[in-house]
């Protein structure tokens, strides 16, 4: 059962992500990315991490993606500009674009090499699998990681002020 869920969610996540990158219309990209995040959330449930699965849905799919949707609707630019000049060809293009394509190919090769060299490691299951509860996460978050937690609140405040100042319409 777990196996089936893993493959289904993995297929959905990869397909949705490929479509996000392949879409010309940013609106469809955002909606497909929500599908991808939902699939990842399912994978977190398969991995016995209900806390992460919940915040993935609530914060990512619920808050961040809504922010993206608002901006896409606010800017009202339905499709990407048509390819012009040297951007028309994917790998044949000049300069930074070809450089970027080569760099992503190098990354793919590196990751493939690294993964092939790994010996398969089975995840602990059954009696051996002790599932950390949300209670344990909370204890650790507010004891060991309390400084990082408080620092995060300052970060959020700064981001909020910065976003308001950046997006403000100049009145003078």
């Amino acid at each position: 059962m777990e196996t089936l869920f893993f493959w289904v969610f993995a297929a959905v996540a990869v397909t949705a992500s490929v479509l996000v990158v392949g879409q010309r219309n940013p609106m469809y990209s955002v909606l497909l990315l929500i599908v991808s995040f939902a699939a990842l959330s399912g994978l977190y449930v398969v991995l016995d991490a209900p806390f992460v699965a919940a915040i993935q849905i609530i914060i990512y799919a619920g808050a961040i993606m809504v922010l993206f949707l608002f901006v896409v609707m606010l800017l009202n630019v339905p499709t990407e500009d048509a390819p012009v000049g040297y951007h028309a060809r994917l790998l044949g293009g000049a300069g930074p674009r070809r450089f970027g394509a080569v760099l992503s190919c190098v990354l793919v090769i590196e990751l493939a090499v690294a993964l092939v060299q790994l010996t398969p490691a089975r995840l602990p299951s059954g009696e051996a699998a002790r599932q950390p509860t949300v209670y344990e996460i909370g204890l650790k978050l507010f004891q060991e990681y309390s400084f990082a937690f408080e620092a995060t609140s300052v970060l959020i405040l700064i981001a909020m002020v910065g976003a308001i100042i950046l997006a403000r319409r100049e009145t003078h």
Binding site: V21, S104, L123, L155, I156
Partner: protein, 103 residues
């Protein structure tokens, strides 16, 4: 029948998602799609954290994922504010429209 997922399956899935995100950042010419690709990459890393966490039977990875998501939220808010400010100046979302540091 489908093979049972091991830690390596999760790492491979994460690598695939990360590569898709990288390709998106390099190949797309729309600032919003580029930001979405960055989110895909952040999620790929989160999946690695949770999978290794499950393998090691610990909770630290999940706490780091919590912080990653918080930082991603801050990044999305500031990034989108910058996109809105840029769009007001040039009426375009193509990164090629913004080649000067000052105008």
């Amino acid at each position: 029948m489908l093979p049972e997922p091991t830690l390596n399956s999760y790492l491979a899935l994460s690598a695939v998602l990360f590569s898709i995100g990288t390709a998106g950042v390099f190949l797309r010419r729309n600032l919003i799609t580029i930001l979405l690709s960055i989110e895909i990459m952040l999620n790929a890393v989160n999946l690695t954290f949770v999978a290794v966490d499950r393998y090691l039977q610990s909770v630290d990875g999940q706490i780091i994922v919590f912080f990653v998501i918080t930082v991603a939220a801050a990044e999305a808010a500031v990034g989108l504010a910058i996109v809105i400010a840029l769009f007001r100046h040039k009426e375009s979302l193509s990164p090629d429209a913004f080649t000067t540091l000052k105008w």
